[in-house]
Every structure is written in C-alpha cells, then in structure tokens.
Amino acid sequence: MSTKEFSVLNHVMVPEHHIMTQEEVDDLLSTYKITHDQLPKIYHDDPAVKAIGGAIHDIVRIVRNSQTAGRAESYRMVVKRPKK
C-alpha cells in the first residue's frame, strides 16, 4: 500500500476548479443579473473544494469539458453542508 497523496483534481472526471476574485464575482453577477444564492451550490467539504482551499461563500469557477461546446464555464457557490 502506498501512502502517496493523490489529488482529486488530476482525475479525468474532475474538471478545473478555480476560486474567483471579488471583481470576477461582481462581473459575473452583473452580466447575468443574478444574486449569490441563485448560483448552484457546492459543499465546503467537497473534495475538489478542499483541494483548491475554498472557504464558505467563495464562488468557484468550473471549466468543464463539454460534449457540446468543447469548453464550458460554470459557477458554484461554496456552502456549508447541511446537517442531516
């Protein structure tokens, strides 16, 4: 058994995740005329969020390899995982 760390971000099924700066977020929200909570969510303990070091209320830009468009951007807001 190897104890070598593996990063989920290297997996083919995991698209790129980036934390967006405040300016980028403002830009995004104004282009789509939406508010923070209208974005899709991602949990704070999601392995990909942990790997990039995202905190609650950050907005993550996800660059997917889309089968239709080739490359598509998507956004998710980091939220706390609700207690069951």
Binding site: N10, M13, V14, D46, S66, R71
Partner: protein, 387 residues
C-alpha cells in the same frame, strides 16, 4: 486563411468546439475576405438556430426525449452479460437506478486502470489484482477443526502466499485481528507458529462445540488480503494495456493500492464518485453512465437532455434523485408538489404550516386556470406611449 481571420474566429464568442471545427476546416484553404464574411455570417445563423429559445420548456422536452426511448427499453432484455464475464445491470433498471440516485447500484463494478509500469505486463497487472481482490483465509490453506483438542488449525500454504505476494507473517497477524474488528467475534485466543506456518485458534469456552463451529466459520471466511468490498477481479487486455474489471466497488481504498492509476480509475457507483471526487465528478458520472446505458441499447438521446438532468440532480452540492425525495419533493410550490405524489400529505402540511403559493411555476397556474409562464406566456408587452 490569414492571421486576421484566425483572430476574428477566436474573438467571435462562438463555443470552443465550433471555433476549432471552423479552423480545422479552413486550415490551408485559400479564402477571400468576402467568402470569409459569408462563412462567418452563415455560421452565426446556424449557431443561433441550435440555441434554445428564451422561455422554452427544456425540462419537459428532456423528460420526453429520455422517456420515449425508455419505453422501448423495457421490451428488451433486463440484464445483459457485460464485459469480461462480469454481470452488470443495464437497460431500463440501470437508468432508473441512475435517476433515483441510489446509494449503491445493484451491480457495483469498477474499471481500474494501472500506471504505465504495470499496464503492459500481465504478471504485474495480476500482482496489483491480488492486492485488490478480497481473499478469504480458506484460500491460503486448509482450515481444520480438531474436536479432540477443541481447536481450529490453519495450515498456510507457502506456495499460495508466494504466488499472491503476501508473507505468512502478514496473514498470521491479519487474520485474528480482522476476525475481531470486522466479524466482531472476540471469544477466542490464538497462537501462531511462523516456522511451521500454522495458526491455532482456541475458543474461550472450551466446552462448547457450538462456539468451536462458530469460530470455524469466522476463521474460514475472514478476508486476509485485498479490499473487503471487491469480490472478484478480472484482468483484461484492452487497446494495448491491461485493465482490471471488478465486481464490487470501493474507490477510496483502491486509490491507495500501489500501481493503480488514480487519474482514470472509475466506478459505476455515482454516490461514491461524488463522495470521493466531488460533485462535479458526480455530474460527469451521471452523464457518462446514462449515456452509455442508452447507447448500449442502441438508443440515441441528445447529450443536452441528459446534461440538463444531471445539472438538476447536482444543483445543491450533492446528488439528489428525481422524485419525491429529491428534486420534485423540494419544489417551492405547494400545489406543484401536491400534484406530483402524496397529494393529501402535502396539502395538509402546507395548511398546518400556513404556507403560501406565489404561483410562479407551470403546474400551479394550470391548477388555478391562469396562463402558464412559459414561451409566449412569460412575455409581457409594455406599450410605449406615442408621445
């Protein structure tokens, strides 16, 4: 094609794939700027036609586009012998499984890719598979019950150990420990003899035959090598490299095994993927699994419908099922929920909680007899005064 044209394509705002297609098509061709203008104009017209119109009811279209071919699936076989002698649920049962976001599929399987040093040599691939396949103690030697001395004897076969790349000592250490931790059976003591490769197990109650036989079952079935959830591993050569197919799935533990390529290895358990690799990987898994299930049945469904479904399921950061415990059950509107399933409960709960319905969705408006907010119904005309 000159640089200014390339520039113009790159800054056109078209999707990446269209840009690439356009560039590979025009590469090395002689094109006048007039022709280029014409091509670009037509590309924009065609691209505009592929886009969804505003206020289009995409959800209903997706539901119908997946549902209609789904009716043809029921008439075909339910189960189908999958790759490499491993049975995998396919067809409609599998599609239902995906949409229901089950925690464990009925036939979990993994496709394990190996690192370069391991994937070209069958023996090395087999060595990795020993580390993964769950193997019981009974496969490593004879388990005998000695009724006279009230003990269980395990004669470990050294050849098998050598073949499976595990030391006798490791088995001796692991077997009693695992019986205690995994089987929760502690009423025994053991003695290991490394030179003779024999383990003695004695039940604590030396009088009871029942305890002895119970212990015998635990000793025989204790898994001493491999990952508990993975019952079978098949090594297959595919497009020049050896790949392991498994029955049973445990992504997290398999990633820890040496030689496993942690960037390509995958499972058909969507819940597991979203847990280990994150929600975005889960979304991709839903798309891949749904698409391959449909394709395998010879049904062509546009990816965009499946992408919409997958997006809906992964909206809130975890994989939610489509149905009353997931997406449909969490709708804002009371009337909409009541129209779906368990009508009375929803109406009663809403009445008790003094819920309001803002009548924004389709179902609610149909119920109360208003125009629905879709297509032309969502557009409001505002007249501009002439002066």
């Amino acid at each position: 094609m000159d640089d200014s044209m390339v520039e113009q394509i790159l800054s056109s705002g078209l999707p990446e794939k269209t840009k690439n297609d356009l560039m590979t098509f025009m590469e090395g061709k002689k094109i006048t700027s007039e022709q280029f203008e014409k091509v670009m104009k037509q590309v924009f017209v065609e691209y505009g036609n592929t886009r969804v119109e505003p206020c289009e009811a995409v959800g209903v279209i997706a539901a119908q586009s997946i549902g209609e071919p789904g009716t043809q699936m029921t008439m075909r076989t339910f189960h189908y012998a999958g790759v490499a002698e491993i049975n995998v649920t396919l067809g409609l049962p599998r599609l239902i499984e995906i949409m229901d976001a089950r925690k464990t599929p009925s036939t979990p399987t993994m496709t394990i890719y190996l690192k370069e040093e391991f994937n070209t040599n069958r023996d090395r691939a087999r060595d990795v598979s020993w580390q993964i396949e769950a193997t019981r103690l009974s496969e490593f030697g004879d388990v005998t019950t000695d009724l006279v001395n009230m003990e269980i004897l395990v004669n470990i076969n050294k050849e098998v150990c050598q073949k499976r790349k595990i030391s006798v000592e490791a088995i001796m250490e692991k077997a009693p420990e695992k019986i205690r931790s995994r089987h929760h059976y502690r009423d025994f003591v053991h003695e290991a003899d490394a030179d003779k490769a024999v383990i003695h197990f004695f039940p604590k109650n030396a009088e009871s035959y029942q305890n002895l036989f119970q212990l015998h079952n635990h000793v025989r079935d204790v898994i001493v090598q491999g990952i508990d959830d993975i019952e079978r591993v098949v090594v297959r050569k595919e497009s020049g490299e050896y790949i392991l197919y498994t029955e049973g799935s445990n992504l997290k533990d398999v990633f820890q095994v040496e030689g496993v390529d942690t960037s390509r290895t995958r499972t058909n358990n969507i819940a597991e993927i979203s847990e280990v690799l994150g929600i975005e990987a889960g979304r991709n898994a839903i798309i891949d699994e749904a698409l391959s299930t449909l394709r395998e049945q010879g049904i062509q469904v546009d990816v965009r419908h499946i992408m919409l479904v997958a997006d809906m399921m992964c909206m809130d950061g975890e994989v939610k099922q489509i149905g009353r415990h997931g997406i449909a059950g969490e709708k804002e509107s009371v009337l909409s929920r009541a129209a779906f399933e368990v009508t009375v409960n929803h109406l009663l709960d809403a009445a008790v909680a003094n819920e309001e319905d803002v009548l924004e969705g389709v179902t609610e408006n149909v119920i109360v007899g208003q125009p629905i907010q879709l297509g032309t119904g969502d557009v409001k005309l505002i007249a501009k005064p002439i002066n």
